[in-house]
Assembly symmetry: C2
Homo-oligomer: 300 residues x 2
Amino acid sequence: MSFAVSGVFAAAATPYNTDLSPDHGLLVEHCLGLLADGCHGIALLGTTGEANSLSVGERMGLLEAVLKGGIAPEQLMPGTGVAAIPETVALTRHALDHGVVHVVMLPPFYYKGVSDEGLYAAYARIIEGVGDDRQRIVLYHIPQMSGMPLSQALVSRLHAAFPGIVVGIKDSSGDFANTEAYAISNPGFAVFAGPDPLLLPMLKSGGAGCITANANLVSASLRTIYDGAGDPARASEVEAAQARIVAYRSLAMSYAQIPAVKAMLALKSGNSGWSRVRPPLLPLTTTQQVELKEKLGGIA
Amino acid sequence: MSFAVSGVFAAAATPYNTDLSPDHGLLVEHCLGLLADGCHGIALLGTTGEANSLSVGERMGLLEAVLKGGIAPEQLMPGTGVAAIPETVALTRHALDHGVVHVVMLPPFYYKGVSDEGLYAAYARIIEGVGDDRQRIVLYHIPQMSGMPLSQALVSRLHAAFPGIVVGIKDSSGDFANTEAYAISNPGFAVFAGPDPLLLPMLKSGGAGCITANANLVSASLRTIYDGAGDPARASEVEAAQARIVAYRSLAMSYAQIPAVKAMLALKSGNSGWSRVRPPLLPLTTTQQVELKEKLGGIA
């Protein structure tokens, strides 16, 4: 299957300085490390990256810093969907102005209970507002955060109405049947699993890859799965990688996921600054960090 | 009971030009009319005002236009809470820079399942970031949109920790027991009902007033209730006003509320431009508008 975009993408966490401003230097270093570890690309400024806690200006600054730091535009897939359409348009245009064509796009997510017709109108208005044939949009289904599910009918309609522009979807719902259905209904549409344990089954069901939080920690294992999924000779290697990512995910999910991923980054890097998060998220407590360290030792 | 802020506030709807840019002139005219009809103030840029569909720049432009149009800073209570704290700080500071001290503030609403401790940290960071003793914050509990309920414990804690700054709350949940509990637990705390039928019972339970969508249409009736609630001599007048606002609310809620309120404004003003909304909201269909007009005739 050929997709407009595919592979293992890390939903990169955003490191902060002591004043909670983004630490651009450390982020660049982290992104380069993720690519070296096997990620095909970086899904910057996603849910895990706490993008929704950053201002529009901070988001633009982060993207520019990463480009300046040597990450190629082709390796980036930033999140640009916010509640207000004019800002989604501005962020997407800004990415395009810097040669970054692939974006992950939340629907406008404040007003709840809106119809498929309303969400269709929203995406159509964004695409028209961006007004650039280069734009490549990966839709973003994460109802547990956005409160705004993207129905199968809506996704198929957007894919059909904007061929070559609405090229894929990231499904973070964890509902495998739903993720699989996006792929089955829309051949060539790039469906990305959000939870890393679903990368393997999705590759077997016509998925394009994954965009995950734990890729911050286990990108090499995800790459092993991506490369080896169809190869009987690599079955045991893939199985071991799958066991590892399942263990990491279980550990992260036994706490608040984003603070837990950042706490593990702090432990792995020896840089305690990684554990900082912006409110309303809170870092793990000292007790939780000690416990996490012990459990992590049992996996890695 | 004496409150830092009280009265009938209209959650003013935002009129749009044909390109869906805000129509500043029509908004100013509308706000002046609401004040003339009896509103104590205008809760600009709330949920009904589709603030969450406007960019930070558009929000600031709207507030400035209304001030320039002759609405006094003391009559305004704009919404300034968005998902990203730096932008909430910027919007609140912008209001203060223009002499507008009262704001209605959503919690950061993207990341769900956060703790009271996390929400406390968020509000504390905003207040510190604004860094101005003049700021007067009315918290905003609207879980059906924000997905972010403000618990009784959190609200009491914020009120106690920031006396004279966290001065009230707007409760749009429609859960009267919850609204009443905010008032009972926090004497002197300005509790505003979101659904207009709850203004009357809340005034009897120590409420400070209301901030409602239907005030766009029935502000005179709401003012009658506010002024006459405690006066036995005005009981029948208050009863009639209550029946009228209940009828208007039922009508609005039988459609999507914001498009319905705007459609009714279009009907009442004869300006069909009022019916425009930004996606993901959609205007009422022509059939719905015809039906609404007929039903409205039966009330007004």
